[in-house]
Amino acid sequence: MNFDFSDDQKLLQQTARDYLAEHSPLAVCREILEGDAAYAETLWKGAAEMGWQGAVIPEEYGGAGFGYLELVLIAEEVGRALAPIPFSSSVYFATEALLRFGSDDQKKKLLPGLASGDAIGTFALTEKPGQQTIEHVAAKVEGGKLTGTKSPVADGEIATFAVVAAQGDGGLSLYLVDLTGDGVARKSIEAFDPTRPLSSIDFDGAPAELLGKGGEGAAQAEALLDRAAVLMAFEQLGAASRSFELTKEFVEGRFAFGRPIASFQAIKHRLADLYCEVQLARSSCFFGAWALDGDEPELGLAACQSRVQASEALNQMSIEMIQLYGGVGYTWEYDCHLFYRRARALAGALGTPNEWRNKLVDRVDFSEEA
């Protein structure tokens, strides 16, 4: 058994961590939070030079030709740094959609731009508040023109194109839509985590190009969500691990009643519990990575497993981070709220944890469980 990453993969992860430590300290995330820019453009370009956006894109389309075991570790580092870049939209969704369902022409046209970071893609599925299954999409494509509204769309304002789920071509299908073209009106929605921008996009006769086979949109979207869930889980794991480390450092350095507050059982028992949550998330993410890499039959289960466990680890960690920092944790000046916001931004993307719990019960063959 070798349920771990190889030394080469760990080295790549360390390189990513070092790069982000230099180019994406939490101050970079804060600049986006407090400023007008929607994302850190310089960091995005730098990431592309490191080959991250094109990590799993074959070299013939301008990518780095790594595998998913490398990509998940990059995702963990992006999450660790709370890097304010549209990595998940462009890499986990748009790139994955093209790699899996795109024609050779579509790949040739779009993948090199995604790899170089010149193009930013996103996935437009959700249309309104609440928990909907994929089948309830109302947006329509008729005669190659898309009509309807998608909101919230992650990175919708900065994306150059979107993969859109809409009814047409014999049922629910996926379409490629140029967001810079005709019939597209985008407006920004204020985000709970402003470092992960969200938009509402009105489509009024926007040209839409079928991606993959018509009528298979539900299965395609489900496959995309499963793959993205594993990648997003690593991003959440990275943020949770960082939050844990910062919190531990804080309680070790903070003194009250003449001793470090980390010496009180009331504090250390909570850190022990949080440690367990983060470790369970890490093990679950490893399982997700294994399933994603080999496209294993267990991928559907592994997606639920890693998605739920990593979401909850980051949620709990970010809540306890503020509490354990005490008063200063509630100030704008300290970084705790960056994690608190990011936790909810990531948990709310691509289906909330409860939606994944619900899927899991459908997917478990419990006659085989001990």
Partner: protein, 415 residues
């Protein structure tokens, strides 16, 4: 990143498997699980367990990592894990040797003299002599080093007085490992000494403790002027704490990872069988969320165990992730049992094999699990271990620091 054995591991597994197939029956779905705090062991089950142990010992399938010259297999930790995984798939008698082989043996192997090893280890391996562990006392549980039983030197013997408690299996054991106070005038950790005691010696009295589930796995053991020859002392006088730590580290590694959860299939089936408002409970969203959480947590513990195994498989020391299995598993097991009873509605208040859903198994678990959260390190002690030994957080301030044991404040004696 894979879950496969190396070629050597696969070959070893096949070897284990073929011996087991020739000597035992495969477990079937619905077979009762191994119960950590089960019924009192009868003389018949002890005989049956001894026969199985002897069979394994003769074929070299026990004490996989122990030295060959003492009757072990001289194998690796990973081989031991593989053997345990395979053996668990077969119907075998209750394991009454867990404490001896998991804790007493490793302690003697680490700290015993050559004569002591030769005297005790081979018979322990063969299952001819059964061992127990005499550590906890009524006033020394989580604070083990606060123990009060004493040993006083008298000629070539030590004379032991005091009481031990929570001694699993004491009523059928031949030998016990014992830690007692030999010097109350020094700091508490410094005044302890470690012995091996003959459980059949005059002055040793074993009384069963009845648990909340009416099980009797544990005992109280009373020592009245029990004489132990100095040749049965393990390590130096005053070094008992260091020796005890060896035992406890082995206890944790033998308990760790087991999780104590189990029952996932039963819980899903129950949710299919019982109804909420005329529909199968499993169709209810709130039920599904809970089921998913239990499943995910149990898998999380199992997958974390796989990370530990990977480290072992590659000859590395397992990381800190090894210590969370019992803490997470036991708490979750209790939550699962409570949820299963909730699903039963009014029937949750019954405990009748012929009436209660799933023969009252969940009620039984609910009564059993509080013990699991305490035995082998309470939840609180495990959190301290994770916080202090894994995360390196500073220790709790202590009121007994630097004091001689006799000067340490104590609470009023129990009525």
């Amino acid at each position: 990143m894979d879950f496969n054995d190396t070629p050597e591991e696969a070959a070893f597994r096949a070897e284990c498997r073929s011996w087991l197939e020739a000597n035992a029956e495969l477990r079937q779905p619905g077979d009762p699980g191994a119960d950590a705090l089960g019924e009192r062991t009868t003389p018949e089950t002890v005989k049956e367990a001894q026969a199985w142990q002897k069979k394994k010992a003769e074929a070299g399938w026990t004490c996989i990592t122990w030295p060959k010259e003492l009757g072990g297999r001289g194998g690796t930790t990973m081989q031991n894990v593989i053997w345990n995984q395979e053996e668990a798939k077969f119907r075998t008698p209750p394991n009454i040797f867990g404490i001896g082989l998991g804790m007493c043996g490793p302690t003697i192997l680490t700290h015993g003299t050559t004569e002591q090893k030769e005297r005790w280890i081979p018979k322990m391996i063969a299952g001819e002599e059964i061992w127990c562990q005499l550590f906890s006392e009524p006033s020394a549980g989580s604070d083990l080093a606060g123990l009060r039983s004493t040993a006083v030197k008298d000629g070539d013997d030590w004379v032991v007085n005091g009481q031990k408690i929570w001694t699993t299996g004491a009523h059928f054991c031949d030998w016990g490992i014992l830690v007692v106070r030999t010097d109350p005038t020094v700091a508490k950790h410094s005044g302890l000494t470690f012995f091996v005691v003959d459980m059949h010696a005059p002055g040793v009295e074993v009384r069963p403790i009845t648990q909340i589930n009416r099980g009797q796995g544990f005992n109280e053991v009373f020592f009245s002027d029990v004489r132990i020859p100095d040749s049965q002392r393990i390590s130096e006088v005053g070094n008992g704490w260091a020796v005890s730590i060896t035992t406890l580290m082995n206890e944790r590694s033998s308990i760790g990872g087991s999780g104590g959860a189990g029952g996932m299939r039963d819980l899903f089936r129950l949710a299919e069988e019982v109804e909420i408002d005329g529909r199968p409970a499993i169709e209810d969203r709130s039920v599904r969320y809970k089921l998913a959480d239990f499943y995910i947590r149990a898998q999380g513990v199992k997958l974390t165990g796989n990370r530990t195994l990977s480290a072992l498989s590659q000859g590395k020391t397992p990381g800190p992730e090894a210590s969370l299995g019992k803490l997470v598993g036991a708490v979750m097991g209790q939550d699962m049992a409570a949820f299963a009873m909730e699903l039963q509605g009014a029937a949750s208040a019954t405990f009748d094999e012929s009436y209660t859903p799933q023969e009252g198994d969940w009620q039984g678990r609910y009564l059993g699990i509080p013990g699991l959260r305490i035995a082998g390190g309470t939840d609180e002690v495990l959190r301290n271990i994770i916080a202090e030994r894994v995360l390196g957080l500073p220790p709790e301030a202590r009121a007994d620091k630097g004091l001689a044991f006799k000067d340490i404040p104590t609470g009023p004696p129990n009525a």
